[in-house]
Subunit: 197 residues, 2 copies
């Protein structure tokens, strides 16, 4: 019943995470009612998304030049490296303004079931950084999931022989949350990690 | 911190209904990790969305030719016209397979507060159809909202002088719903519209 290009657009949009066929239909009919320029702007933005973006030579984050904004900035603490899974994690950590060191983006987490080992991540580049740079502290900021924790354990074990301080983001109650709704695992971490007032 | 094209893509996606800045970020980073071809397919689908699509001369539905699929089909009941607000409504009604007549797409609902009167809708084209076609029944299928109901009332009043059967989609309990969770208005309609078993 629907014209082909509308069907194609619905199909393409429903491939995105969190957008089912119903939402895709809604979006397409919404776009249809918008100005042509609005729709073209969106299409162009997506089409140009990857244009001219490379991985930072040093930290493997997304970048427009050889070195990314963080690595290029002279004000950052050059001796601390925060290990994250994805470029988005750098973005959210930067938005806190609480971290002043460098990053290293692994581009994933170790997950043997999905065939992802250290070779598929940027662990090799991380090891090279240890040879070249004077790193004093590693902040493990992988996700608090099974694969993220496994990756953190792998990296900390690998670094153990070196005299580097290894820290891990604190785990416990999220701000604004309520004790009664916290899951047992989170509460367990909150008790184990309790701090002197 | 983010490269410009990533910022632009996030901005453009977060303009869509139901997609906030956080979801837009997620989508963009998801697309970034996909193949180039996948992203280009999506961008092309959106860019071509409106290409070659016109309004059906008869029912004002979206169409690839002068007449839409429904209007062209010889098997449809030519004497019944279902009035809907949007092309998407035609799509969902067709997916039921329960309606065999024609449609008329108003492209909106009467809403004086938003400056939308009958002149902004395809009411003029509907009146022309009454001159030319032998319409015996009008099925009002506007949304069960204030503006949708107002539009239905407007159209039925306008048609009153003619000897046309005017029906309205049944209102009552949705299938799979539970009585205890139905809102008072829906229950009221269900009681008023009760039928002999």
């Amino acid at each position: 019943m629907l014209p082909d290009q509308i069907k194609t657009a619905i199909e393409q949009l429903s491939k995105l995470p969190g957008i089912g066929p119903k939402s895709a239909e809604r979006l397409v009919f919404y776009l249809f009612q918008r100005d042509d320029s609005h729709v073209k702007d969106l299409a162009n933005a997506l089409s140009n998304l990857k244009e001219g973006i490379v991985y930072c030579e040093r930290c493997c984050n997304l970048s427009e030049s050889t070195l990314c904004g963080v690595c290029e900035s002279p004000g950052r603490d050059q001796n601390t490296v925060c290990i994250v899974e994805n470029p988005m994690d750098v973005f959210v950590l930067e938005s806190t303004g609480a971290y002043k060191g460098l990053y290293h983006v692994l581009h994933g987490a170790i997950s043997p079931l999905d065939g992802i080992g250290p070779e598929q991540l940027t662990v090799h580049q991380l090891n090279q950084r240890f040879e070249k740079e004077e790193i004093e502290e590693i902040v493990l900021a992988t996700n608090p999931t099974v694969t993220g924790e496994a990756t953190a354990v792998y990296i900390s074990r690998q670094l153990n022989p070196r005299s580097i301080r290894i820290t891990h983001l604190a785990q416990g109650l999220p701000m604004g949350g309520q004790l009664e709704f916290a899951d047992p695992d989170t509460l367990k971490r909150a008790i184990q990690g309790r701090r002197e007032v």
